[in-house]
Symmetry: D2
Subunit: 373 residues, 4 copies
C-alpha cells in the first residue's frame, strides 16, 4: 500500500501503519507523508522506504505509481490526512486506478462525499472508510445478535463519546492534532461531531441495523475563541420508531476515549464500551446479565474470525484497526468474492457527512426536528 | 410519626418504615395504610400498632391525632401513597398542624404543588420530599465539591435513569405498582418522567447547584395500550450556559435501577452511579482519576456525617433514605436550628412538577426549546 | 433485647443496634454498655433507655432482668464486647436463662468455646454468632448453588480478607478499636486471624459446604512492637480433596474491608466480594459468565427472602447484619420451628476458634501440615 | 529473524509473529516450523517465505543461515516450541552465533537453564525470554514506582494466575496445546507451575524488585490420569521479610487468563490485572485510590515509551509482546548501548526454572520451608 499523510507528529497515520503490518501480508511501499516535501522524505526515510518511493505530492505519487508495473506499484492508498484532503486525494487515486482506504470522516462536506460516491461507483474500485470501532469483534457480535433478532424490536439507542483533551485551548499551542481539528478550512463544519460524533453515529446505525431519520441537536463551543463546536448532544429518531440520544464531547475533563453504547429491544439489551472492548454485556429479560468476552466459543463466527488470541488475552484498538485493514485487503484481492465485509464504504461515508452537516443545521435552528435523508 | 399509604403490596411504604426505624429515635405510632379500612387495619396490625391508632381514612387520622396530647400524637406524617393523594393528604395534615414528609413527586400536577407551597409557607410547618438519592453520602460529596469550585465552571451534565421492569404491559396484570404508575388519574401526566425522570432532574440540579432554564424533550410510550410515556430523553440548558442530557426509561430491558450522573467542569469531572453508591469518581484534569469512597477521611464533613460504618462496609438505599428521615426529624425537632438540611422541600417539589409538565408539553410541540421557569 | 458492650467509641455495638432496629420487632430494652458504670449510664441514656434498665455490670443485669416478669425482661442478650468477655458474659446469660447473640470470634480461646458449647447444649437456649457476611443474600445464593450441585465437585477455594487500617501502630494512639484488638489479654492469640481471618474461614466453609481438614500457616507481625499477627496466609485442604488459600491482612495499605471469595468446581465457578455485595458472578463452563444480582427473580427462595427492596436498590452491611438478627429473633420466638437458620451457632464458633489457634501453632512450627479437627 | 516452532495449530508462534511485525523493523526471513519437514514447509509457505528459507530441522537452519552473508541471514532466532526443545535449539543457535529470543520457561529443567546461562555468558550473545507480561506499560510503571520508593517497604505480595481451559482432560483429545503441556517429556516436571505459575513468579519478583527466598507449595493434579499438576498454591517469603502467596490454576472453570497481582508496602499499595491491563490501581495511605491509565502523562518515561496510542485506546497482549520484541531487537542492534532492557534474560530464566522445580519438591515434602537459591 501507499500512504498519504501520517508524517512526523501525526497520530492516526502511525496507527494505520501498525494496523497494516500486524497480520503480515500488507506492505507499505510508498508514501506522501506531508505536503512539505522535505518532511515527507524525512518521514519516509524513517519508515525505511527507498527514496524514490517517497513523494513530494500525492498527485506525483499517483502519476508515478500508476505508471509502474502492477507487480511493483502500490495496490491501494491509505489516506490519513486532515479532512479537507480526503476528497482530492481519494479522487485523484481513483482516477489513477487505485483502491482507497480513507480515514473518517469521508470528506470535508456532504457535497464532496456525494461526488466521491459517484466516482467510486463509476470506477468500480474499492473505497473503505476506517470507522475503527467496527473492527472490534464484540461490535460485530452486537450487530449479529440484533440482526438475528436476539434483542427483539429495538426501542432505544444511547451512544456517548466523551473526550477531555480539548478542554483547554490546545489549538493555540503547537499541538498539530488540535490545530487542524479546530480549523474550519481543514476540519469542515464541525469539530466534535466531525471528529467523534460521526463515529458514534456510525456505530449506532451499524450495530442497530437501523437508520436515523430525524435529529434534534444542540452543539456548543465551550472554549473561548473556537469557531467550531467542541461538544454536542442530539436526540435521535430511527426508522423503526426507536428513539435515542447521541452525546459527544471534547471538553469532558478526565475522559479519555469514552465511546460507549447501550441498545434496548423488547426482548433484551446490550452494552459495550470501547475502553473495555473485550466485554459485551448482554441483558436478556428476566435472566442474569451475561458477560460476553472476546474469543468466547459462544460468539458468532464473524466475531470469532476477528480474534487472534484465546479468551483473556486482551486485544485492543490496533487489533480492531487491523481487522479493517485485513478485510479491506481481502476485498481488494477478491472484490467480487461476495464475502460480506466489515469495513464501511462510501455509503456510510455519505451518511456520516449528512449527519454532521445536519447537526450543525439543527443546532442553529428553532425547528425541533430535522430529517436525515 | 404517622403514615398514610404503604399497606399490603406497597413498595415504598416499607422502605420508609425501614428508613425511619434504622437509627432509632423515630417511632411509627399511627397510620392509614389503605383507602380500604379493613386493609388499613390488617396492615397496621401486622406492623404491631394498637387498633385505635390505625385509621380508616387520613382525614379521620388527622382529626383524631390532632386532638391528642402533644406528647402522644404523631409528630409528623409520612405520605407514601400514589401521586394523586399527595396533595390532599399533605394539605389536610398541614391544616391540622402536622409536619409532612412526602414521597416524590410532590403532587399530581404543578398547580397543586404551587398551592402546597403557599400552604407550607403560611403554616410554617416542615415539608420534606423524599428524593432518596440526595441521602447518599457521595451525592452530598459531589455537591460539596462543585459548590467549593473543585470542578470549575460546569459545562456538561449527563444524567441517565434506566429501568426495565415495565418493558412488558405489567399494568395489565394485578401488579399494583405498575397499575397506578400508568394510570393518569393516579400518576398524573407522565409515568416515566413523573416516576424517575424527576429524580434524575432533581439530582442534576442538586449536585450541580445549577438550574435548568430550557428543555427539549421527546417522550415515548413504547408498550401498546399505554396512555403515558414509558421512556423519554431531554436536552437540557442550564442557567450558567452549561448543557446536558437527561434520559430515562422504564422499558430498558435488563436495567434495574440505573440512575447515573456525569458532570464536567473546566477543571475536573465526576461520575456517580446509584447501583454502586459508595464510589464517586473524581476526574481532575491531567491527573489520575480518583476513587472516592463512602467513609473516606478525605470527604467533606457533610458526607462524613451521613455514614454509619467504616469504609468498605457498604451502605445502600435504605441508609440513604434513613439519612433523609434523620435530617427531617432533626428539622422537626429544631426547625430554626439553621443547620443546612439535605432533605429537599416544597421548592424542589415545585421545580420537579414544572419539569414533568414541561417535558410533556415539549414532547408534543414542534418548538425546539421550552423555558422552565 | 439487652446489650453488653457497645458504649461510647465502640464500632460494632452501633451496627448491632441498627441491625436490630431495621426491621422493627426487636427493641433494645436494657444494657451494660461499658465496664465503667458511669460510661454505661451515659451511653444508655444517649440511647433513650430508662435509667433503671442501664446496668453497671453484666452480672447485675442478668440477675435483675431474670427476676423480672417475662413480658418485660429482655428476651436475649447481644454481646458486643472485646473477645475476652464473650465467654463470661455468655456463660452468665445462659445461666440466667437468656438466649445469646454474640459477636465473633466466639470466645478468647478454643477451650472456652468448647465449654460454651457444652453449656449451650445443656441449657437448650439459642446461641447465635454474628458472622455478618452470611447475612448477605448472595452468600446464601452461593451456598445454595453449591449445595444443589451447580458447581459440581469443588476443587479450589480462594478467600482473601484485606484491610489496611492497622498499617501504622494505631494501637499506640487512643484508638480503642485498635488497642484491644492488639492486646492478647483482650483479643486472644491472634489479631488478624482472630478478627478477620476467622470471618474468611467461616465464609469458605459455609459457602462451600466443606470442612477444612489441614492447614499450613505463615503469620506475621509487620508493625514494630506488636505481640500479635497483623497479617497471615494459610494453605487449606478440604475434606473432599479440594485445595485452597486463605489470606488476611490488617496492614494492606489502601484496602478497606476487602473480603472476597472464589470457588471453582468441575462444572462451574463463582466469585463474590463483600464490597460489591449485590453481585455474584457465576461462571458456568463454556458459557458466558453470569452476573447474579440481589433481588433477581432467578435466585433461590433463601436468597430472595433476605432482600427488602427490588433489584438495583443496593442493600449493604447493615441489611446483612439485620438478616442475622431477624433470623435469630425468629429462632428465639420459635426455637423448634425446624426452619433452617442462616445464623451460625456455637459449632461454627468452635471451628473458628480451633482454626485461629491452629494458624498460630502452624505458623510457629516447621511441620508442614496441621490437622484441623 | 528466524523462527523454530510455531507451525500449524500452534498458539504462541502466531503471537510472536504478530508481535515481531507490529512495529515494522523486524522481518521473518526463515524458519523451521515443525519437526515434520512437510509441515514445516507448508507453514512457511503459508507465511510467504521462499522455499529455500524454510528448513526441515533447526540444525540445518542454523548451519545454512550461519553460512549466509550477514546482510541476508537471520539476525536472531525466536524459539516457540514446546519446552523440551528450548535448550537444544537455543544451544545450537548460540553455537552458530545467533542471538536467541525464547519463549518461557527457559528450558525443560533447571540443569539445562544453568548450562544455557554459561553458554550465553561465553558467547556474549543476547538471550531474551518472553515473559510477555513485562511488556505491559503499567507493569513497568508498577516496578518503577516501587523502585522509587512510592510504596515504602514492601510487606505483602499476592499473585494469582487462574485459567480454566484444562478443567476437563483436553489432553486426551487432539488438542495440541493441551497434549504437550501435560506430557512430562515435553513440558518438564510441572504443567501448571511450568506454564503459568512461572509467569506469576516472574511478575512478582520483577515488579517488587525483591527475591523469593523460601517457599511452601501444595500442587495438585485434579483431573484423572494426569501425571503433572494442574493447580497449585505457594506461600512465599521474600528477601526483605515480605510475605506472599502465589496461586495458579488450569482448572478454575470459567477463568480465562486471569493473572493479577497486589502488592502492599508501608506507604501505599498497588493492583494490576492482565485482563484489564490498561489500568493500574495505586493505593496511597489515607488518600483516595488512584486509577493510573496507560498513556497517562503522569506515568514514568519507561511506561510512556511502551505506548503507541493516546489514553483510552486500549493496548493489549500483542502490544505487550511487541514491546519485548522491540526491546530485544534494540539490544541485538546495539548490545552495549547501556539502555536498561525490559526483556528478561537467562538469569530470570534460571530463577524461573529453580522456582518450578522447587514447587514440585516442596509439594512432595513434609518440610514446611524450602530455600530458593
Amino acid at each position: 500500500m501507499g500512504m498519504v499523510g501520517g508524517g512526523e507528529g501525526a497520530f492516526i497515520g502511525a496507527v494505520h501503519r501498525h494496523a497494516a503490518l500486524l497480520d503480515g501480508g500488507i506492505e507499505l511501499v510508498c508514501g506522501t507523508f506531508s505536503a512539505d516535501p522535505d518532511k515527507s522524505r524525512r518521514s519516509g526515510s524513517a519508515l525505511g522506504l527507498p527514496q524514490e518511493r517517497v513523494y513530494g505530492s500525492y498527485a506525483e505519487m499517483m502519476r508515478v505509481e500508476s505508471a509502474m508495473d502492477p507487480s511493483v506499484r502500490m495496490q491501494f492508498v491509505a489516506i490519513v490526512t486532515p479532512n479537507h484532503l480526503h476528497y482530492p486525494v481519494a479522487d485523484c487515486a481513483l482516477e489513477h486506478g487505485f483502491h482507497v482506504l480513507c480515514d473518517k470522516p469521508a470528506t470535508l462536506n456532504l457535497a464532496e462525499a456525494i461526488h466521491l460516491k459517484e466516482r467510486v461507483a463509476a470506477t468500480r474500485l474499492q473505497f473503505g472508510l476506517t470507522h475503527t470501532y467496527l473492527g472490534y469483534p464484540l461490535v460485530q457480535e452486537a450487530r449479529s445478535r440484533i440482526a438475528a433478532g436476539s434483542l427483539g424490536a429495538i426501542r432505544k439507542v444511547l451512544v456517548q463519546y466523551s473526550q477531555g483533551w480539548l478542554a483547554k485551548p490546545l489549538e493555540q499551542t503547537d499541538n498539530k492534532q488540535a490545530k487542524w481539528r479546530l480549523d474550519p478550512a481543514q476540519a469542515g463544519l464541525s469539530s466534535c461531531m466531525g471528529d467523534i460524533g460521526v463515529h458514534a453515529f456510525n456505530l449506532a446505525e451499524y450495530i442497530s441495523g437501523l437508520q436515523v431519520t430525524q435529529i434534534c441537536a444542540d452543539l456548543t463551543s465551550f472554549v473561548d475563541g473556537r469557531n467550531l463546536d467542541d461538544d454536542g448532544s442530539v436526540l435521535l429518531r430511527f426508522d423503526n420508531g426507536a428513539k435515542g440520544v447521541l452525546t459527544a464531547s471534547q471538553v469532558s475533563v478526565g475522559e479519555e476515549n469514552g465511546l460507549a453504547i447501550q441498545i434496548y429491544g423488547d426482548k433484551a439489551g446490550l452494552k459495550w464500551s470501547q475502553q473495555e472492548p473485550n466485554t459485551l454485556w448482554f441483558l436478556p429479560e428476566g435472566e442474569p446479565v451475561q458477560m460476553l468476552r472476546t474469543g468466547g466459543d459462544y460468539l458468532s463466527s464473524t466475531a470469532g474470525a476477528l480474534t487472534r488470541t484465546p479468551m483473556g488475552h486482551p486485544e485492543g484498538y490496533i487489533e480492531a484497526f487491523a481487522n479493517l485493514y485485513k478485510d479491506f485487503a481481502a476485498q481488494v484481492a477478491a472484490p467480487s468474492s461476495g464475502t460480506p465485509s466489515i469495513c464501511p464504504g462510501i455509503e456510510a461515508g455519505c451518511r456520516g457527512m449528512a449527519f454532521i452537516e445536519l447537526t450543525v443545521t439543527s443546532s442553529q435552528s428553532d425547528i425541533k426536528w430535522h430529517d436525515l435523508v
